[in-house]
Symmetry: C2
């Protein structure tokens, strides 16, 4: 039997810590039973063990490693980098660096996770900062959207980096040979949008990069799935993601009352319940939880801080897919091509 794939887990991260993380690992282990995967849990060993079953097949798949510190959900990234050594998050990432694990998952503080991952794993050559990617449910399956929260200000070169990372991610994880790419804007005409978007549009449109760039897309194209990969800055991406989540929740609430109004309260409630359950499986953020941090020398997946056990297990599935994919090699190959292109003809507007 070949060597197992090991997923390193920050067992103390998130709003609920081990009480959600450990059951999440158990769910993922069942789901991944056929794929030869083991788990390395970092955190307070006694607390973690209290959440584990006393016997059973699961125990043979799990190794618990004591870590004394926990990075608080509101810790500033700079403080986390200075004082985070030895914490559960730090050790979870370091296990990837050391080769003890193939991917890491944390539901902890996003800024701290980005900073510590970048410090320990370093960026793939030529890339500046990690981006967080979301798999956006839509009419054509999942759309890859990035960045959804890591980088507030993005210049043209950063947006082009995201296109390269997102394309490699989509091909490796969703198995699409030549993913299509769009830049999120407020209209599809060439003249639309701010200077950074214009700059990225120019570089991508010139076609020197091996990418299938389709131009600008708009907010409603995210669910329509008109392209496989949508590139945006982390501010806009985060607002869009949370707006979509809020809209979905609001509609679910309205739907319940629409049913009650049109079918009478009892029958309406029963039918709404049933339809909502089916719908929820497609739209629940827990069902699509797990945002990989792209661009690092190593796979790191961010789970929602408030995810439940099912949500956390989904983040682990994403990590397993990443660990067993060619994603990092894809990015590296694209970056080499980009470096060649930029070295020979530095495009205007790329350095705004």
């Amino acid at each position: 039997m070949s060597n197992p794939t090991v997923i390193s887990i920050d067992a103390m991260g998130g709003d609920f810590g081990p009480s959600v993380v450990v059951p999440g690992v158990a769910l993922a282990a069942t789901e991944l039973a056929a794929r030869n995967i083991r788990f390395l849990l970092h955190g307070d060993a006694a607390t973690i063990r209290a959440e584990l079953p006393k016997r059973g097949a699961l125990l043979s798949l799990i190794e618990v490693r004591q870590a004394d510190g926990v990075i608080a959900m509101d810790e500033k990234p700079a403080t986390a980098m200075r004082r985070g050594k030895g914490s559960s998050m730090w050790n979870a990432i370091e296990a990837v660096k050391n080769g003890d694990a193939h991917a890491a998952v944390s539901a902890g503080n996003t800024g701290a996770l980005m900073a510590i991952s970048r410090l320990i794993l370093r960026m793939i050559g030529g890339l500046d900062r990690p981006a967080i990617v979301a798999s956006w449910p839509g009419m054509n399956g999942a759309t890859t959207v990035l960045d959804v929260g890591a980088n507030i200000d993005c210049d043209a070169e950063r947006l082009v980096d995201f296109a390269i990372m997102g394309e490699a991610f989509h091909r490796a994880v969703h198995d699409v040979a030549r993913p299509t790419i769009g830049l999120l804007n407020v209209g599809s005409e060439d003249m639309k949008g701010h200077q950074e978007l214009q700059g990225a549009h120019k570089i991508l449109r010139e076609g020197a990069l091996p990418l299938d760039y389709r131009g600008f897309v708009e907010g409603d194209d995210l669910s329509k799935g008109v392209v496989n990969v949508v590139v945006t800055d982390g501010f806009t991406g985060n607002v869009a993601l949370k707006t979509a989540e809020g809209t979905a929740k609001f509609i679910a609430t309205e739907m319940r009352s629409a049913f009650t109004a049109s079918l009478g309260s009892k029958l309406g409630a029963v039918i709404a319940q049933d339809a909502l359950r089916t719908l929820k499986a497609r739209l629940d953020p827990n069902a699509v939880n797990g945002g990989p941090l792209l661009g690092l020398n190593g796979a790191v997946v961010k789970s929602h801080g408030g995810a439940n056990a099912l949500g956390f297990s989904n983040a682990i599935l994403v990590a397993a897919d990443l660990a067993q994919s060619t994603f990092a090699d894809e990015i590296r190959a694209n970056m080499e091509r980009l470096t060649n292109v930029l070295a020979h003809a530095p495009p205007e507007g790329a350095s705004s």
Copy 2:
């Protein structure tokens, strides 16, 4: 009987022109029957008359004025300003300036409408550019969101202008004595967001303005309705609005298949149809259509270019509410207070 309120209509604007606009006027006229409102339609008189009924009470409420030009949906704002004189859009706005009408409605080109409105009506003293406002459906009724598409780059002072305009709008139109205000960001902590947001947050938080500012809000707070007025730049606002529309459409599609799956195809389709109709009345962009351009010396309302007759009639209802409200006076009073505040203590970060 007191003098009627007159609404000036760009009858040639939008994707469908008079074939949608004129039936939209008819719907609005019925709805507004008790409010002593007349309509002034600008455009090709023969085409407009062909869409009007041959007789009936409606005709006595409508005056048609010949206008020869039409501003194309893809015309650049600068060109529209230079060559737009005498077009249906131009004349619709000019009627407000001349005192022939109390508000104007157009489904035409947004950029051209902004530029021509600003040229003809001028901004209220102290304000720089109009903002387009959306009434966002949510758990607590409508949230006022601005800007949703007019201004791509906004500095701190521009965002504070939007807070002042949005607050006055919400009070005048939704009859809330002291509307609460939030700034759209990617987190609620003080340190979050880019420099322009930080600057606006500082000015608003200092409390020298007579506004009930509650701090940062996030994308999912738009539907939750945690504040009455959400302020953002036109880029983020436009992406958020279109993302919400796309999400709502996607969910409606999914809902239909969820019903079919859980109830069997025939019964499922019937019940989905019924519930969707109720839901649609709350969520259909046509039901909430009509984005006022705030900050002008005069009321101008932008309708979606692709709105149907019901949608266009809703934009007319918004214009009627604006025309019969104290909204412009509210903004003027707030601006005077702001000018006094800024003259005495120019805040840091306000001029970024």
